[in-house]
Symmetry: none
Subunit: 191 residues, 4 copies
DNA sequence: AATGAATGAGCCTTCATTCAT
DNA sequence: CATGAATGAAGGCTCATTCAT
């Protein structure tokens, strides 16, 4: 006799919701306790059994990549719908926010993308190209700035995220870092 | 009757040597296998029993802090013996090298220093002040550069170290990052 | 509105076909991966959902017993349609082949048949009696051979199957084993 | 404060005793519950922690091989100290007893010896050669019997062990099996 | 004071079984 | 009646830590 308060099997229809709940729980748990957080804690946070986590994301890395893919899709949507020369600043601002929020597992993803065929890195480079070219043409950013520099900026912000416990301090430090590299991009962060 | 071929207790005199061996082993193991490397692997690498590791460093973090303290002492020695305006570049160069070599546990140390009374961060700030002031007076670095910015630069380089597997690529990326922030300091890294 | 390309429920008519597919899949999977193969693998091999497996065979053992029952039915058909003194050799040959093919789960079935009321063992004994009597009367087999000895021979061949990875080697070893016990039966295996 | 009734660390001096206890527990647990018995059950039976089992026997198979090696050493000791023509019967009798007692993991060992370089099989063959030659010379055993046949006999007895739950019945069946193959050897089992 | 084996908690992972659709 | 996702118990394995010698 199952406990009425404890639904033991809500059926296959909840699969998409479970997947979303696992990604959200992954964001929370990775941010709060680092990439090495017990997978059981993520499953518990998502309100599902451990087996469900394994069904949707066979490895810890698969979950991290799914979170990143969502991030990249948001960036691509921004890049696709904005044509102003200021778009690059908006993208950098979003990248900074995502990086600070995902500090715990940026490293794992970068490492994996170097060793596997995950295309995330290339997608980021691709979506940055046109906006950066427009900003350069408009004279908004320093003339020697490259797409690789923007990606490097993300690595730098990642380091800042890891070394600042307080999110507010991390955000301020990241803003200062971007400002040191380029005043136009830095101003966008602070806004 | 101890077996002559199996020295099991080499006496109190070897304690300092054991401590040094553990620090050296910690550097190697953290660099090679990350901060989470088994403590038994560090003890084995150092050629001592696990109990000795506990005697000298009660926790994993204590060992990491000891490694960092050695790093800071080297920086202080440099700062104390160099009076040229170019000294800040030498210090930044050393900091970059130390940071790239210690990528695996910078985060742990920074986190601990925020939560405990470890004075490492303040010592770094203190040793940077005079050299940076001299460089500013000589007009070598950008006039708005602060000591906090140099510390921030270390955080940024840390992020670069974590996201570049290949040490050569990491070094090149770090050089570019410093160059983006300040041409004078960047030139020193590349040298 | 069910998707026409995804038949999710093919109706009651397919139940017998599903049962047969599960038995065939069970033979393949037990042989390939041992008696402990995941039940989900058997269901997948059979092309049905896991629920169907449970509907037809409530336990792993029930499936194994069904496979054995098919084997016994084939033996009974042979015994019922052959009246020659040589029939015992044909039956032993078939038993050897079945045993080698089912090595992974003979043990489970024999154990279960001793503890439950599964009549498989008795059916084998029953079907062997008349053919063995005819062979004894004809002087083909050693005069002290009993039906229990033939059943014992199956146990012995089972051990050979488990200890020989290569099916060809197992078959040769089984032939030698039968030959050691009775030249007439052994000759039938080798043929 | 450790519970006085629960010695938590009896020190390194108990290592050899632990190893012996693990082998004895392995014999009991494998015999009682099969090769797949939880390793934690073996450790509990031996009165040690799970880590100790892993320290002494890195894998389940390593423990099984250690048990088998003890068996082989006993056989070698018998072969080395007996020179009578009847020795082969004594060895077969011991082999039968060992095989029936170790039924659950004979298969694992055979599998391992095919895949690794475990020399156990060759040691058995080697120790049987001289005693069998003496028995053949004395006319005690059938003249066509080979060492490989004796090894095959072990496989056959293994199958009997697996298919007979009752040890007494298994022993009787094994005796009958050996008798069917060779009257002289069979008589030794029954004795 | 050093050694290194023992301990055992906790994590990852796999399935057997259930059940909503 | 079939599907296949959800569940969660159970086992393998790994260390951090203790402590007898």
């Amino acid at each position: 006799m199952p406990d009425a308060d404890t639904p033991r099997n809500r059926g296959p229809a909840v699969a998409p919701a479970n997947r979303a709940a696992l990604i959200a729980a992954g964001r929370r748990q990775f941010a709060a306790h680092g990439y090495g957080v017990p997978l059981s804690a993520i499953a518990r946070d998502a309100g599902v059994g451990q087996g469900v986590l394994y069904r949707h994301f066979g490895t810890r890395l698969a979950l991290a990549l799914a979170i990143f893919t969502e991030n990249i899709e948001a960036l691509e949507a921004t890049a696709a719908t904005h044509r102003e020369p200021e778009t690059i600043a908006l993208l950098v601002r979003t990248l900074v926010e995502q990086t600070l929020a995902s500090a715990a597992f940026v490293e794992a993803v970068v490492r994996a993308s170097a060793e596997s065929d995950w295309a995330g890195g290339r997608r980021v480079v691709a979506l940055l190209e046109a906006p950066l070219a427009r900003a350069l043409a408009a004279g908004h950013v320093r003339p020697d700035l490259t797409v690789d520099d923007v990606v490097l900026l993300v690595s730098m912000v990642h380091g800042i995220g890891l070394t600042h416990r307080d999110p507010t301090a991390a955000r301020a430090a990241a803003a200062r870092a971007v400002l040191l590299v380029d005043p136009f991009l830095g101003a966008a962060i602070e806004g």
